[in-house]
């Protein structure tokens, strides 16, 4: 296991490369999903308001 983590002495290059890839892609997925959820909520609210105004 230690040998695996050591990456033949190149651990300081290999693991940051993999770490950066995971962090950037996960952050992008989370940010995209949050934005979608926020817009879904905002739209549901706006549509609720619009239908109330129609009734009034």
């Amino acid at each position: 296991m230690n040998e695996f983590l050591a990456m033949g002495g190149y651990a300081v290059f290999v693991w940051p490369a993999y770490g950066a890839s995971v962090i950037v892609l996960v952050a992008l997925v989370i940010a995209s999903r949050r934005r979608l959820k926020r817009l879904e909520q905002a739209l549901a609210q706006a549509e609720g308001r619009a239908s109330m105004e129609d009734e009034a």
Binding site: Y10, F13, S21, L25, L28, R35
Partner: protein
């Protein structure tokens, strides 16, 4: 392509294609990472640093593919005034920027042990850095112009002008002297890398493509919602 120009048809398609893409992306990510980290042998010259290739090369491919996708979408948006084409290009930009950033970072971390430097201002690295700035400029342009029709047109023109950079990136390693090696997978006469390294690379590349597909569909849905919201609140005010 044209059938998808209708947002309703797009949403119907995304309804099943998007979850499928997420699932397939997850499967190939796990498979690709497993092959890259555990199965692929260390290179006889590069040792374990060769494992950086399995995330560097797919990110670099995606940086160009996503830009090509945006250029096609921008072109269709300009010519046929399809809202969905404009939004597809807009939705793809942050994904392309992320892949380009990762190509630069992972390349830098690979360059330090193999070339002895994190960065050189040679043709390949510089042209990819310009690609990254093109993505940022494209996104900034959408932010800067309030009228979505004008923003779409300006951004599309910027994107199409920037297409000139793609062949420069591709052939930079052949046209100029550079530390960066020429292509060894996509070339005449087939790939020149060993299958034990080719398979992890292809699995990761497929995973990145599927991830792009899933994210892109999700982000287009968000763009469609945002536009509907703008129309709705614009009318009710």
């Amino acid at each position: 392509m044209f059938a998808l120009a209708n947002p309703r048809r797009f949403l119907n398609l995304a309804q099943w294609l998007e979850p499928l893409s997420w699932a397939a992306a997850a499967v190939f990510l796990v498979l690709g990472l497993y092959l890259s980290l555990f199965i692929a042998p260390p290179d006889y010259q590069q040792g374990e640093t060769v494992r950086i290739m399995f995330i560097h090369v797919p990110a670099a491919w995606m940086s160009m593919m996503v830009y090509g996708f945006m250029a096609v979408a921008s072109f269709l948006g300009l010519i046929y005034r399809h809202v969905l084409a404009d939004l597809a290009a807009k939705a793809a930009a942050p994904i392309g920027a992320a892949f380009t950033f990762l190509a630069l970072v992972t390349g830098s971390l690979w360059g330090r042990p193999m070339w002895g430097t994190y960065w050189v201002w040679d043709a390949r690295l510089t042209s990819v850095l310009i690609l990254f700035f093109l993505y940022l400029g494209y996104m900034a342009l959408w932010q800067a112009i309030e009228d979505p029709v004008k923003a779409a047109r300006a951004a599309a023109i910027l994107c199409l002008v920037g297409v000139i950079n793609l062949p420069i990136i591709k052939f930079s390693v052949d046209w100029w002297n550079t530390l960066h090696q020429p292509a060894s997978v996509v070339k005449m006469g087939g790939p020149s890398i060993h299958p034990a390294m080719l398979w992890p690379l292809l699995a990761m590349a497929l995973a990145y493509m599927l991830l792009f597909a899933a994210l892109e569909m999700q982000r287009i849905r968000a763009e469609l919602l945002e536009r509907r919201l703008a129309n709705l609140t614009g009318i009710s005010h």
